[in-house]
Structure formats: structure tokens, C-alpha cells
């Protein structure tokens, strides 16, 4: 039916609508449990970016352009990096990367194995996840926008 747009048709779009939230939730789970289970910021961020890439493929570049803001994603990527650096600098009084939250609190200092433990690791996982997600989505959007061939 929809032959003019660059999306992939109604079947793929419907399936994508159903799966994108699930992929996002699964990726967020991997990020949030990075210090407990296999995976972490990078893997989870890449999974969430998979949802963004699926959106780009299923709904097409035109739809993507409406929802994607280059400056916002660049800034978010920078914030991810800065949050990582900030977490690493929390314990600069002792040493760079000193895990002061884990040793002294006030939060993320629970029993090992619980969600709110491991000091700065959850913060770093979130920061890396944000950075990887925004970076990969930006890279894919860039590839789609600036391709040099015509079909």
C-alpha cells in the first residue's frame, strides 16, 4: 500500500511497534543490573540502540528525522561521558576511580548482590549505557542520512 515512503510496510511496522518497547526494557534491565549479571552499560546501551535502529529500518528515515535531534543526542552523549568521569572523580581525595560511595556511602552501599550496591558502578553503567545508546543511534542516523548512493 505504502509504496512512496521508505518504510518497510505495515507488517514490519506493526511487529516493530510491539517489539521496540520490549527491546528497550530488556536493554534497560541489562544496564541496571550491570554490576550483578553478565552485561553492563555497553551491552545494554547497544541493545537499546537496537530498538532505535529497528525504528529507523521499520518506519523509515522520514519518520526518524522527525524524532531525532542531532544536537540533543550529541549533548546526551557528552553528558553520559561527563557522568562517567564525575563518578570516577567522586573519590579523587584518595585516588582517581576510588569507589568512595561503596566504602563510605551514603547510597549504593548495600549488601553485595543487591541492586543498590557496588558504589559508583551502577552510575557508571547508566552513563555508559546512555553514551552507547545515543552514539550508536547517531551513527546509524548518520549512515542513513549521508549515504552516497541512490537506489
Amino acid at each position: 500500500m505504502n509504496c512512496v515512503g521508505d518504510d518497510m510496510g505495515v507488517i514490519v511496522r506493526t511487529a516493530a511497534r510491539a517489539t521496540i518497547p520490549l527491546i528497550g526494557i530488556f536493554g534497560s534491565y541489562i544496564v541496571a543490573h550491570g554490576h550483578l549479571t553478565p552485561g553492563g552499560g555497553f551491552q545494554g546501551g547497544a541493545t537499546i540502540a537496537g530498538a532505535g535502529i529497528l525504528f529507523l529500518l521499520a518506519f523509515g528515515l522520514d519518520e526518524m528525522k522527525k524524532r531525532y535531534n542531532k544536537n540533543l543526542y550529541s549533548a546526551l552523549e557528552g553528558i553520559g561521558g561527563l557522568a562517567f568521569l564525575g563518578a570516577a572523580m567522586l573519590g579523587i581525595g584518595v585516588a582517581f576511580f576510588y569507589n568512595t560511595l561503596w566504602h563510605n556511602g551514603p547510597f549504593f552501599s548495600g549488601k553485595p548482590g543487591t541492586l543498590l550496591s557496588a558504589g559508583f558502578l551502577p552510575i557508571m553503567n547508566l552513563a555508559v549505557g546512555l553514551k552507547v545508546f545515543t552514539g550508536l543511534v547517531s551513527a546509524m542516523a548518520g549512515l542513513a542520512l549521508y549515504r552516497r548512493w541512490r537506489e
Binding site: 544536537n71 550529541s74 549533548a75 552523549e77 557528552g78 553528558i79 561521558g81 561527563l82 568521569l85 572523580m89 573519590g91 579523587i92 584518595v94 585516588a95 582517581f96 576511580f97 576510588y98 569507589n99
Partner: protein, 512 residues
């Protein structure tokens, strides 16, 4: 231990690079000011680190704790360990990178995507600083990759020309192969000895030298010779360095091949393997490659008509001298000759960073004015670009090794030690210089020749491009005024610090 300043060498550029996308929203002026501010602050920290290490000796910094020993009885944490050699490299990197950033303000003005350019140039500096200060093998690999990936992207930065893209892809393939060799070497060592800390690895290796350790050394040497552009594998360098924007070429030729190749090679050969392999064999192996590099690089420079390609081949040739110094330093380990050779190599590393940085910045100014780097069209440039030509004259004279300039002292140390070690090597080094002289005299002859029509409308570049060139020229002249003072006060102690594996290990095991 008061090494609190050390992490700021990494923190400041990291902060600058990550915040660049946000600063970029405030416009072009803010972005440029930010880049200059960050690299200037890094230079200040770098100078302070150098001063500190020079006054107080080797510095040890543990990441994440007070001491490198956890609950274990061996160093388990990531450490940074800076001896005088490393501190000298830090000073060199921060200085030349600062000059390149200032130069970029004028030189890159007409390009787009500059937020990414400044982010990448700061990341490149960060990677090099990390390699210079690290005392942990895997940490070294991570910084090596940060540096390499930033330089692949920067080589292909002007992606409107196929030349740049081709060079970038070629550089990426070769660089990735080299990195994989190094990673494999690290994996072998980790599997065999169960530690990645350089100093502790040295201890384990000397207690129990195995064939796996030797295989790992072979992988390191091959990978790092790739990265430094030594001769049988220099083909990527001659493409990548001319294709990059000139400010980047200055950093690639002046810094990246030194830090990612020479420095790492010297660090691994001396500080890790110094006591556990036959230094004579390894030394002669490096000397062999050095001689090939020396002749091939300088000879290829003579026949180039592309100015930047000539400079790139000349870099290959100068890497040959540095490798020769390091090879003799290894082969004659412990003797006076070896120490002089090593000091010459370190001295030449520093000098060549200044000289080649300057020469590439000049090449960039010429391209900026005339849009060509073909030497056949640059005849008579001295008339219309006198300041640039003067700077080129100084840079070329220094790289040839003319007496009043800084290149003389470092080359003299290398000639002297190689002649003492083995006269044939001395002869080869002199032949290399003959080729080098021929190449640069040719360029100078072109510059001072009869002006062609094309160069008549050229003029000296604007201030932001002229100042870095002038500062580098002044640095070359001033360093040339005190050749033996610098050699005795800085370079010989740096060579001693590098040779003294025991002290390197003791600083680590002492716990800092």
C-alpha cells in the same frame, strides 16, 4: 606520595572532549576557546609533571586505592608509573598538541564538523598521554587504541577527497593488524604470568623466563614497529600522514609514531624484558630494522615531488635514527656507549617532534595559501612568504643536523655511539643523513628559486597559524644553544631511568 596532579593529565582532556558537544552549542568562538583552554591547561599540568619527576624522581599513582596492593601480596591494581623518560614524553605531547590546536584555529577555519575535529584532537592527545604515563600493560593497550582510533578518524577527516578516505582506511587496516598483534602478546603474557602490571611482570619474567614470554616479545616488537612506521611496513605512513589535515600530520608524525611506537617499544623492551631476554639479540634485531628504515626512508624522501609526502618519508628516516639509538642501547646494555645511544634516541625523539611538527605546520601554511603541495609549483616562495620560509629553513637545517640547532646534538650522540659500537652502523647513519640533506636542500632550492606566477599572490599566514610556527622555531633555536647542557641534565638521566629496570620495579613494589 604526592602524585595527586597526575590524574589531571587524563581528567582535563577527557572533560574537555566530553563537554565539547555541549560547548559547541554556544557557537564557534566558544568551541575554539574551549579547545585552546583545555589543551593549554593540559600543557600546564604536563609541564608540572615533568618538573615534579625531574626534581623528585619516579612517580607512582594507583587507580582506585592508596596502594597497588589490594588484600593480595602482589600489585593487583592498575598503576601509572612515570619516570623521567615518560615525563619527557608527556611534556613533548602536551607542548606540540597545544601548538597544533592553536594552529588549527586558523588552518581549519573553512572546514565543517569542527566540533568533532576538536573532540578528536583532544582525545588523540589523551591517548598519547595515557601511553606515556601508564604502568599497566592492558591500560597501555586501551590508551593505544584510543590514540589509534582517534588518528584513523582524523586522517579521514576531510572526507570530501577520496585520497583522505583511502588513506584512512589503509591506516585503519594496518593499525588494526598491529593492535591485534600487541593484544595477542598481552594475552599470552597474562595467560602465562597472571599479571598485567609492568613492573611485576618484569619480576615474574626474570624469575621464570619462558618461551611464551619470548613469543609475546616478538609480537610486541612486530606490532610496535608497524605502529612506528619502521621500514618494511612503512607504506601506510606515507599515505596517512600527507592525507591528514596538516595540524594532524604534525601530531601524527611528531607524536603518534613516537609514543605509540618508539616509547612503547623502549618501555616494553627495557622495563619489562630488560632482565629476562638476551638484550644483545633483541638489540641487533632492532638495529637491523633501524638500518633498513634509515636508508629507505631518507632515500625515498629525495625523490618525492609532493611536499607532505617528502616530510612523511623523512619521518620514516628519522624513526630509523631513533630505532638505531634504542637498538644500540639494548645491544650495548650497561655500557657507556649504550647509555649515550639511548640518550641520543630520547633526545632525537624530542627534537624530531619539534622539527617535524614545525615542518608540517609550514606545509599546511603553504597549502592554505596556494592550494597545492606539489614542489614543482612552489618555486620562489621565499619572496612572498618570507617568515614561513625562514621557519622552514630553520626546521630543515635542524632536521639535517646543522651545528647551531637542536638536531645536531641528538644526531651527534647517535653517530658517536653507533661509530663506537660498530663503525659500519656509523657509516650507515651518515649515508642516511646524506640522503636527508639532499631531500631538504631540494625543497629549499625550490623555495629560494625564481618565483613562478602562482606564488606571487601568496602571503604569510594569519597570526594564529604564524605564532605556533614561530614558537616552535624559537624552541628549536633555544634548544640548539644549550645542546650539551640539555643532554647532561635531562637526556642522560632519562636514559638512565629507562635503563634502570630495578628502580622501576622497586618503585612499584615499594608500594608508593
Amino acid at each position: 606520595m604526592s602524585a595527586e596532579i597526575l590524574p589531571y593529565l587524563i581528567i582535563i582532556p577527557l572533560f574537555g572532549a566530553f563537554s565539547m558537544p555541549m560547548v559547541n552549542l554556544a557557537g564557534r568562538k566558544a568551541r575554539e576557546a574551549w579547545a585552546v583552554l583545555i589543551s593549554g591547561a593540559t600543557l600546564a599540568v604536563g609541564s608540572w609533571v615533568f618538573y615534579w619527576v625531574y626534581e623528585k624522581g619516579t612517580v607512582l599513582y594507583t587507580l582506585g586505592a592508596k596502594s597497588p596492593f589490594g588484600q593480595a601480596n602482589f600489585p593487583i591494581r592498575i598503576v601509572w608509573e612515570v619516570d623521567l623518560f615518560g615525563a619527557l614524553m608527556v611534556l613533548m605531547v602536551t607542548f606540540v598538541a597545544f601548538m597544533a590546536v592553536i594552529y588549527s584555529l586558523g588552518y581549519m577555519r573553512h572546514d565543517t564538523g569542527l566540533d568533532k575535529y576538536y573532540t578528536l584532537i583532544i582525545i588523540l592527545e589523551l591517548g598519547m598521554l595515557g601511553i606515556a604515563i601508564t604502568g599497566d600493560l592492558f591500560n597501555f593497550y586501551v590508551f593505544l587504541e584510543i590514540m589509534s582510533i582517534a588518528s584513523y578518524a582524523l586522517v579521514a577527516f576531510r572526507n570530501d577527497t577520496w585520497e583522505a578516505i583511502e588513506a584512512g582506511i589503509k591506516y585503519m587496516f594496518v593499525g588494526s593488524v598491529a593492535s591485534s598483534l600487541i593484544l595477542l602478546g598481552i594475552a599470552l603474557l597474562y595467560g602465562e604470568y597472571g599479571t598485567l602490571t609492568m613492573g611485576y611482570l618484569a619480576l615474574k619474567l626474570s624469575q621464570n623466563p619462558t618461551i611464551v614470554g619470548k613469543v609475546a616479545l616478538a609480537l610486541f616488537i612486530s606490532g610496535l614497529l608497524f605502529k612506528s612506521g619502521a621500514s618494511p611496513v612503512h607504506m601506510w605512513l606515507a599515505d596517512a600522514h600527507p592525507a591528514a589535515p596538516s595540524s594532524i600530520s604534525a601530531m601524527l608524525s611528531g607524536l603518534v609514531i613516537k609514543i605509540g611506537g618508539i616509547y612503547a617499544l623502549a618501555r616494553i623492551a627495557f622495563s619489562i624484558y630488560g632482565a629476562s631476554v638476551s638484550v644483545k639479540t633483541v638489540g641487533w634485531l632492532i638495529i637491523l630494522f633501524a638500518c633498513i628504515t634509515l636508508i629507505v626512508g631518507n632515500a625515498m624522501a629525495v625523490i618525492q615531488t609532493d611536499m607532505k609526502r617528502l616530510l612523511a618519508y623523512s619521518s620514516v628516516g628519522q624513526i630509523g635514527y631513533i630505532l638505531l639509538g634504542i637498538g644500540i642501547g639494548l645491544a650495548a646494555y650497561g655500557s657507556q656507549t649504550g647509555e649515550i645511544a639511548l640518550a641520543g634516541a630520547i633526545y632525537h625523539t624530542f627534537n624530531h617532534a619539534l622539527m617535524k611538527g614545525l615542518l608540517f605546520l609550514i606545509a599546511g601554511a603553504v597549502i592554505h595559501q596556494l592550494g597545492t603541495r606539489d614542489l614543482n609549483e612552489l618555486s620562489g616562495l621565499a619572496k612572498t612568504m618570507p617568515k614561513t620560509t625562514f621557519a622552514f629553513l630553520i626546521g630543515a637545517a635542524a632536521i639535517i643536523g646543522m651545528p647551531p640547532l637542536n638536531g645536531f646534538a641528538s644526531k651527534w650522540l647517535i653517530y658517536e655511539s653507533s661509530a663506537l659500537f660498530n663503525p659500519v652502523l656509523g657509516a650507515i647513519a651518515i649515508i642516511g643523513t646524506a640522503f636527508c640533506t639532499a631531500a631538504y636542500v631540494r625543497v629549499l632550492y625550490t623555495f629560494f628559486g625564481r618565483p613562478s606566477e602562482r606564488v606571487m599572490e601568496a602571503k604569510d599566514p594569519e597570526k594564529s597559524m604564524l605564532w605556533p610556527m614561530l614558537i616552535l622555531t624559537i624552541a628549536i633555536i633555544v634548544m640548539g644553544l644549550f645542546p650539551w647542557g640539555i643532554s647532561d641534565k635531562v637526556m642522560i638521566p632519562a636514559a638512565k631511568a629507562l635503563e634502570n629496570q630495578l628502580a622501576y620495579v622497586a618503585t612499584l613494589m615499594g608500594g608508593g
